[in-house]
């Protein structure tokens, strides 16, 4: 596999950006709030270095298997990150709203079906089953991620959940990258690799360039401090809890009684 100047440039740029982002996450203490996201970035740093040396010293076959091992890990981490972001948005005080959880799970299930159906329709022109699995897998992952992020956006707005700045930045970056990924992975599938790989390379370069923009967005967004939340006074918390308990009892008695 021959690496062009653009391949090397994008490789170096993503490695540099990942290192800077990892430094921001660690030294600005964001890693504590976003451990899964930090793990993904750390994995990407490690992956970039390992893949470079694998390609140079072990050849294309070893590179392919190493690439896809890391790719599976990457996708698994992305799903963990979705969960991490979901808990930040929908469980800011530690407990799920039962309605929100039920609706989110239903919508996620429906998203899985939609992504699976679209992936099933996809028949990329490739020379091997392996390449077909790769392309369909990438498309499935982009489609599902895009759906999950849009669900988060829609549900949080509808149910009135506010977004803190850093959560919003991470979600926006992933959301944009995933939506764009539908386009690039769709293009990969359409053009395939059966006749030539030039178009595949061009589309990949565009995808990686956008990813670099997303990482830069995360670097600047996560480096800045977000507004501090106030702590609710203990007296008020107790008063509200007591009021909620009395209200619940009163409403329960209203439901149980009947007025002639």
């Amino acid at each position: 596999m021959h690496l062009t100047g653009i391949d090397l440039l994008l490789w170096a740029l993503t490695l540099l950006e990942h290192i800077v982002l990892l430094a921001v996450l660690i030294f600005r203490h964001r890693a504590r709030r976003f451990p899964a996201f930090t793990a993904l970035i750390a994995t990407n740093v490690f992956r970039t270095i390992v893949l470079y040396f694998t390609l140079r010293h072990a050849g294309a076959e070893a590179y392919f298997y190493t690439y896809w091992s890391f790719a599976f890990l990457d996708i698994a981490l992305q799903f963990v990150i979705v969960y991490e972001l979901v808990t930040h948005v929908f469980r800011p005080v530690g407990a799920w709203d039962s309605d929100v959880r039920r609706i989110f799970l239903w919508l996620s299930g429906a998203s899985l079906l939609v992504a699976s159906l679209l992936t099933w329709l996809d028949t990329p022109a490739t020379r091997s089953l392996r390449a077909t699995v790769v392309m369909k897998g990438e498309f499935f992952s982009s489609a599902l991620m895009a759906e999950l992020f849009v669900i988060m956006l829609a549900l949080s707005f509808t149910m009135g959940f506010p977004w803190r700045t850093h959560v919003a930045r991470i979600t926006q970056g992933f959301g944009v990258y995933s939506i764009f990924g539908i386009l690039t992975n769709g293009a990969h599938s359409y053009f395939g690799t059966a006749s030539n790989t030039h178009t595949y390379s061009v589309v990949s370069h565009i995808r990686i360039s956008l990813y670099c923009v997303c990482v830069a967005y995360w670097i600047f967004g996560l480096a800045k401090e977000e507004p501090e939340n106030r702590q609710m006074p203990e007296q008020l918390r107790l008063e509200l809890r007591d009021l909620q308990r009395r209200t619940a009892m009163l409403l329960q008695s209203l439901r149980g009684s009947g007025r002639a």
Binding site: L117, L118, V150, I182, G186, M232, T247
Partner: protein, 178 residues
């Protein structure tokens, strides 16, 4: 040609995703720019004293005092029109509680409680709308309307405690309005 179903499906999917994301982003931006006074201004005018009387008639145990007569309840609430205003006000109360989350994330619990209360009120009002179509509004009105008003009254109390205790700006205006 074999890729046509996939291209059409992926195209429709992509447009739907982008359109949905854009719709909610625009609405979220618009909501963020909405001032607190603009939210308060959406409250429909109701006679607070009369509504409180109807609510307390049900909520307080008054062994010696007679309960309000159904006709009186109907007049004090203002019939279905009064309940319609109440129904719209529920959404405003939820927005006012959600607004406090900017300072206190724990206000989310209050907003969720109000959301549940609002759902219950709308259920009661839905029953009454059904009853008005079948000609049984007058018999059923006291039962469901008074519960709706009592629930609304409790919602307003929760909101006032939240604003007062949290020293949230606008407490005085809120107290006047609800």
């Amino acid at each position: 040609m074999s890729q046509l179903p996939f291209l059409v499906g992926a195209g429709v999917f992509l447009v739907a995703i982008i359109a949905t994301a854009t719709y909610f982003l625009v609405r979220a931006r618009r909501a963020a720019r909405t001032s607190w006074m603009a939210i308060l201004a959406k409250l429909q005018r109701i006679d607070r004293d009369k509504f409180a009387t109807v609510a307390l008639d049900l909520l307080e145990e008054r062994e010696n005092q007679p309960q309000l007569e159904p006709a009186v309840i109907f007049d004090m609430i203002g019939g279905m029109e009064g309940l319609g205003a109440l129904e719209q006000n529920c959404d405003v109360l939820i927005d006012l509680a959600a607004y406090v989350q900017k300072w206190y994330p724990e206000a989310l619990e209050i907003a969720n409680e109000l959301r549940l209360n609002s759902r219950e009120i709308k259920w009661h009002i839905g029953r009454l709308r059904g009853a008005s179509q079948t000609g049984h509004l007058y018999e059923q009105f006291p039962q469901y309307a008074q519960r709706a008003v009592a629930t609304y009254y409790l919602m307003t109390r929760s909101l006032l405690v939240l604003y007062e205790g949290g020293r949230v700006p606008g407490f005085a205006e809120l107290q006047q309005a609800i």
